[in-house]
């Protein structure tokens, strides 16, 4: 995208019917470190890469518990994400207080989306620069939604956002048909493997990723480092051995990963509105 005379205000349309400020906000999401969500019939797994500003600092928290039955993973401006998580928690608590029952995920994401939309139609505001993967369980089953800065939201079986998320998406696209009936353990494994895709060659360690699970009879919680490492150990070999056929999983991943990176650097055409995130 290039600068143009219609991109200063969020309340200015371009002649081709685009709101550039909103699109720029979506760019901010692509800059954040990756976050991944997958769901089965009974569980939702949210995972993210722990990227620290520098070697000296700790990494920012990107996955938040909203309630026992809802969690959210963010990518982009984490400060905006924190504020929206607080809003979601507040909505969930107020709903429980009034109706003595947990807030449905679908209702929550609509409120979130409407809140985001407001920022695209006020001259004194700016859009939230964060994408949210909202995963939760309610009466109608397990759900995974993606909320855009634009105010749109979509439901997914599996999705990835943030930098190098295309690699993860490619992996998920190949495997998503099996997710609905997946077991909890397989779902977690797939999430971690999707995370690995975004790391592109860097050795996958449990310290590099955060994984959270929620499901029937299982309130939202984070997996501890040990559990994550155990899953990693089942498929990740020590670096020297990766060149051999090993588990067989390392090899097929290499090809789509290479194809994925090509797309990350460039952006869409000037005239095509990037409606798809």
């Amino acid at each position: 995208m290039f600068r143009n005379q219609y991109d200063t205000d969020v309340t200015t349309w371009s002649p081709t019917g685009r709101l550039f400020q909103v699109e720029y906000a979506m760019e901010a999401v692509k800059q954040g470190s990756a976050a991944i969500g997958l769901r089965s019939r009974s569980h939702v797994v949210l995972a993210c890469v722990n990227k620290a500003q520098s070697e000296l600092s700790s990494h920012q928290r990107k996955i938040f518990k909203v309630d026992d039955h809802i969690g959210v993973a963010i990518a982009g401006l984490t400060a905006d994400g924190r504020v929206l998580s607080r809003y979601m928690r507040s909505e969930s608590i107020n709903h429980s207080f009034t109706y003595e029952s947990p807030l449905s995920v679908g209702r929550l994401v609509v409120r979130l989306a409407d809140k985001a939309q407001v920022c695209t139609q006020r001259s004194w505001k700016r859009p939230y620069g964060v994408g949210l993967l909202v995963g939760g369980l309610d009466e109608s089953g397990a759900h995974l939604y993606y909320n855009c800065p634009s105010g749109n939201y979509f439901e997914y079986q599996a999705f990835a956002i943030g930098s190098r998320s295309q690699a993860a998406k490619t992996y998920l696209e190949r495997r998503y048909e099996s997710f609905q009936e997946s077991s909890r353990e397989d779902l977690i494994k797939d999430a971690i493997m999707a995370i690995r895709e975004t790391l592109q060659g860097e050795t996958l360690k449990s310290s590099l990723c955060t994984v959270s699970v929620l499901g029937l009879e299982e309130p939202f919680h984070f997996l501890d480092q040990e559990s994550i490492q155990k899953v990693i150990d089942t498929f990740e070999k020590v670096p020297e051995e990766e060149e051999d056929a090993g588990e067989g999983e390392a090899e097929p991943e290499a090809a789509p990963v290479a194809a994925g990176t090509g797309e990350q650097g460039g952006s869409g055409d000037q005239d095509v509105a990037p409606m798809e995130m």
Partner: protein, 223 residues
């Protein structure tokens, strides 16, 4: 022209008694399960004890609709606390929150007479006793409700803690063992049930310790 008065009251008293005793590493919270209105019984099996946090349990007698509303507010506030601090509220923290919540409605109070029991940050038992508008004090034992006037003097006789005005400050905890405390609670309730018409049916006892909460149910006279 004399001032017109309302011919209805927003409050009702559902009766019942609540007691709590703090030990060196435990806390016993007990309440009867009778809920009444006037001279009628509404339920013989209504729990007046509510767990607010892992280490804080609230027992309230008075107007149960207000008690329920109060519990809901505290539960929501506790959730917010957990989100912000990533941990459960301690009993002394909950005690302060309860006090503030009650005073917040100073001019239309919760008709709730509370006893908060739990473990403090050192793992010792603690009991906090309240009035309807939030005045509270940490004590070694407490009783509230319709049978409190019958029970409190007896607890004083058995457990009297040294006065808080004494110097040097002395421990407000009772030197009872857990079994002795539970036994004492059963005794006082059995006695209160004899003379207080609003206390009876069943006694619910919650024993709070560092490793968890145990609940016991004992029958009381049903008349």
């Amino acid at each position: 022209m004399t001032k017109q008065h309302a011919n209805w009251s927003p409050y009702d008293n559902n009766g019942g008694t609540c007691v709590a005793i703090a030990g060196s590493d435990y806390c016993v919270i007990a309440a009867d399960t009778r809920m009444s209105t006037g001279y009628s019984i509404l339920s013989r099996d209504y729990s007046k004890i509510h767990k607010l946090a892992d280490k804080a349990v609230l027992s309230s007698s008075g107007f149960q609709a207000d008690v329920k509303a109060l519990q809901k507010v505290l539960k929501s506030r506790h959730l917010i606390y957990q989100h912000q601090h990533n941990k459960q509220m301690s009993c002394p923290a909950m005690a302060q929150l309860l006090s503030n919540t009650l005073y917040f409605k100073r001019f239309f109070p919760y008709y709730a007479f509370n006893v908060l029991g739990g473990l403090d940050e050192e793992g010792k038992g603690c009991v906090f006793t309240y009035d309807a508008v939030g005045s509270y004090e940490r004590v070694g034992y407490g009783a509230q409700g319709s049978g409190s006037t019958l029970i409190m003097p007896f607890l004083d006789n058995q457990l009297k803690s040294p006065s808080p005005l004494l110097l040097p400050k002395q421990d407000s905890n009772t030197p009872l063992s857990e079994a002795e405390a539970v036994d004492l609670v059963k005794t006082v309730f059995a006695s209160a049930t004899e003379r207080d018409i609003y206390t009876g049916d069943k006694l619910e006892i919650m024993i709070l310790k560092a490793d968890g909460i145990k609940t016991e149910l004992m029958d009381l006279r049903k008349d």
